[in-house]
């Protein structure tokens, strides 16, 4: 468990399923919900519980984020590590999208960067956002992510197509940004 000034980050647990289910909101498509074929996946509560019970699948890749009062505010993950090219996909999903502009979200990104670049020795982290996720995109860009481009009409949900943007953060750029922050 990582205890920061604003956030508590810990491995996801079976008991988290009711609250995590709030993130799987069919009325708010998010990049976090996309599966391998970039389709929106909305699991049932039972399916979510089943996944959360698989420690072997989730260990080290899926975490929940709580505030200091113990309320669950979202989750984050490092998934699909491509070891040969040393990169991984990351995602931070916060229940309230306004939270992306808060220090709590910054601490989650610090955790993701440390886990990806220093613990797993990755070269690159990749994130994705749908065109409706303006706040999430701002959050990624604020932390040094650079756009790789936009896949037009990539994701179908709510009766329309959404564009999907891909963004990357390289370890060198992240280290430079951290040094700048440190002055």
């Amino acid at each position: 468990m990582i205890v920061g000034d604003h956030a508590v980050i810990r491995a996801a647990d079976l008991d988290d399923s009711p609250l995590l289910h709030r993130l799987y909101d069919v009325s708010k498509p998010r990049s976090f919900l996309l599966g391998p074929s970039r389709e929106v996946l909305i699991p049932t509560r039972d399916e979510l519980q089943e996944v959360l019970s698989r420690k072997d699948l989730l260990s080290g890749v899926f975490f929940v984020v709580e505030d200091k009062q113990g309320e669950l505010r979202g989750c984050c993950s490092l998934r699909g590590v491509t070891s040969s090219a040393f990169f991984s996909e990351m995602a931070v999903a916060l229940v309230d999208e306004a939270d992306y502009a808060t220090p709590l979200a910054d601490e989650v990104m610090d955790f993701i960067r440390y886990g990806g670049f220093h613990e797993r020795k990755l070269r690159k982290l990749m994130g994705h956002c749908l065109d409706r996720e303006a706040r999430y995109r701002e959050f990624l860009v604020r932390h040094g992510f650079v756009s790789n481009g936009v896949q037009r009409e990539m994701v179908y949900a709510l009766g329309r197509y959404f564009d999907l943007e891909s963004l990357s953060l390289f370890r060198d750029a992240a280290d430079d940004a951290l040094q700048e922050e440190a002055g």
Binding site: S37, F86, G149, Y156
Partner: protein, 210 residues
């Protein structure tokens, strides 16, 4: 212009296994399609067997594999339609053609036809194509189809100890409609229905006596 080249695409069958496996001898086949050097020949063979295996008729497959047949040379390539998303109506296409026809018009015809198969037969809305930045021969063919280069993925794939950039292309149905009209007006007989008719005609012609 009437199309003279006789090249067909068809679903891959178990009988194609030996041919597809023999393409592993081509370094390009491994380099472009099966680049994980930690995998053994047996594992690659098993993957190919899985690709050519049957899919139950009532399921929506997430991969369809087509063989390119030339009237003169027999099987000359493999077209993989993978990561099919039936909800998004999108898929990825990987293509392989043997070296001797890689620069020929046959490769372009095959590529056109697999696009037609995706949009007209599978009802896709979008086709994704990922190609190494150094593989200019491939991405030029892709760009001629009207696909837009949407992604530049820097240092994205590792091959032979080097890390390379990759391009991501997208072709939407609207892009495809434009290409289709353009090709049909220039190359009579390039469409899939004409291909089927040509194949039937070829099968009906008795072989000449020796």
């Amino acid at each position: 212009m009437a199309l003279k080249a006789r090249v067909y695409i068809r679903r891959a069958e178990r009988e194609d296994l030996d041919t597809v496996v023999s393409w592993r001898e081509d370094p390009a086949f491994i380099r472009f399609l099966y680049g994980d050097r930690t995998r053994s020949p047996k594992q690659i063979r098993e993957q190919i067997v899985g690709m050519l295996g049957r899919t139950a008729g009532h399921t929506m497959p997430n991969g369809i594999f087509l063989v390119v047949d030339s009237e003169k040379s027999g099987p000359i390539g493999l077209l993989s339609i993978v990561n099919i998303g039936w909800r998004n109506r999108s898929c990825n296409i990987d293509t392989y053609v043997v070296e001797k026809v890689r620069n020929s018009f046959l490769a372009a015809i095959s590529f056109y036809r697999v696009l037609e198969y995706c949009f007209q037969e599978l009802g896709m809305h979008r086709v994704n194509l990922f190609v190494y930045a150094f593989n200019a021969r491939s991405w030029r063919v892709i760009e001629r189809s009207g696909a837009k280069r949407e992604l530049l993925l820097r240092e994205h794939v590792a091959r032979d100890g080097e890390v390379y950039d990759m391009y991501g292309y997208g072709l939407l149905r609207a892009d495809w409609e434009w290409l289709r009209e353009d090709f049909k007006s220039h190359f009579k007989g390039i469409d899939l229905l004409s291909m089927v008719a040509q194949r039937k005609q070829a099968a009906a012609v008795p072989e000449a006596a020796p």
